[in-house]
């Protein structure tokens, strides 16, 4: 067992525990958002272990920096620090959904253990793999249309968010 594998298990456990803390915390929405930060940062550490350096940095900047701050901003703007809704009518259905999810997950994990393709050990990566140079070159040559489409999507999102958050359209 190498250092990388041990670090993967440490950060993977941290991600799963904080994700559970986010979903199961029914008292405090701010604590849920804080648990989300821990999940995102541990996922960024796992991306580093998988040699996706640029993606790891962007993960911390966009998720840890922008998205969670937006969530916290809305939670505090609406003063939702406590979150206590009475139990719903469809509680049994939801519990069944949760149990079905766990059962399917168990099947998936068992199947993964037996697939020889997925059990393959990763080899060495090429020089500069996952760095800004390789990702940037690929992004602005092969995938330049994708970048343009992403910019259009972001523009649409900005306009949509403005219209939705506006009190009254003039």
């Amino acid at each position: 067992m190498t250092v990388e594998t041990i670090l993967f298990y440490v950060f993977g456990t941290l991600a799963v525990v904080s994700a559970l803390g986010m979903v199961l915390n029914i008292r405090n929405t701010v604590a849920s958002a804080m648990n989300l930060v821990v999940t995102m940062v541990s996922l960024a550490a796992i991306y580093l272990l998988l040699e996706a350096y640029l993606v790891a940095v962007i993960q911390i900047m966009v998720y840890g920096g922008a998205i969670v701050v937006l969530f916290l901003f809305v939670v505090m703007l609406l003063n939702l620090s406590t979150d206590e809704f009475p139990p719903g009518k469809q509680r049994v259905v939801k519990l069944a959904v949760a149990i079905a999810c766990v059962a399917i997950l168990t099947q998936v994990v068992i199947a993964l253990d037996r697939d020889p393709l997925l059990a393959a050990q990763p080899g060495a990566v090429p020089e500069g793999f996952g760095g800004y140079r390789q990702v940037g070159l690929s992004l602005y040559t092969d995938y330049v249309l994708l970048v343009e489409m992403a910019s259009l999507l972001l523009l649409a999102a900005i306009v949509g968010a403005l219209i939705l958050a506006k009190r009254k359209i003039d």
């Binding site: 979903v23 999940t39 993606v55 937006l70 090429p126 992403a150």
Partner: protein
């Protein structure tokens, strides 16, 4: 060297936690956070597969990580619009409980 099947198993576990969050919670903010968690699980699978097939017949490939960047863009756009919807819902209903929004429910 992290084995691929462990990465995919972690991704599946995180996705399941996200599904459970969307199915069981009724706070719209936590539901949006669970959707983010599911998108991140998919990203983890992309990065893991890209790590295994980091070169195809000698040519380095980075397509999985490009796709992750696009998913992050979509997630940012989705959060902006989702929180806009949440704000206007709170303004109309004074609550973020999704069961109170049942105008189109029959």
């Amino acid at each position: 060297m992290v084995p691929l099947n462990h990465v995919i198993a972690l991704s599946a576990i995180l996705f399941t936690i996200g599904v459970i969050g969307v199915a069981t919670r009724r706070n719209l903010i936590v539901m949006l956070m669970s959707i983010e968690l599911m998108l991140n699980a998919a990203n983890l699978a992309f990065v893991g597969f890209n790590r295994i097939w980091s070169q195809v017949e000698g040519t380095p490939t980075i397509d999985g990580q490009i796709f992750v960047l696009m998913v992050i863009t979509v997630a940012a756009a989705e959060v902006a619009v989702g929180l806009g919807i949440l704000l206007s819902m709170f303004r109309n209903r004074d609550s973020v409980n999704v069961e109170e929004v049942n105008l189109l429910k029959w």
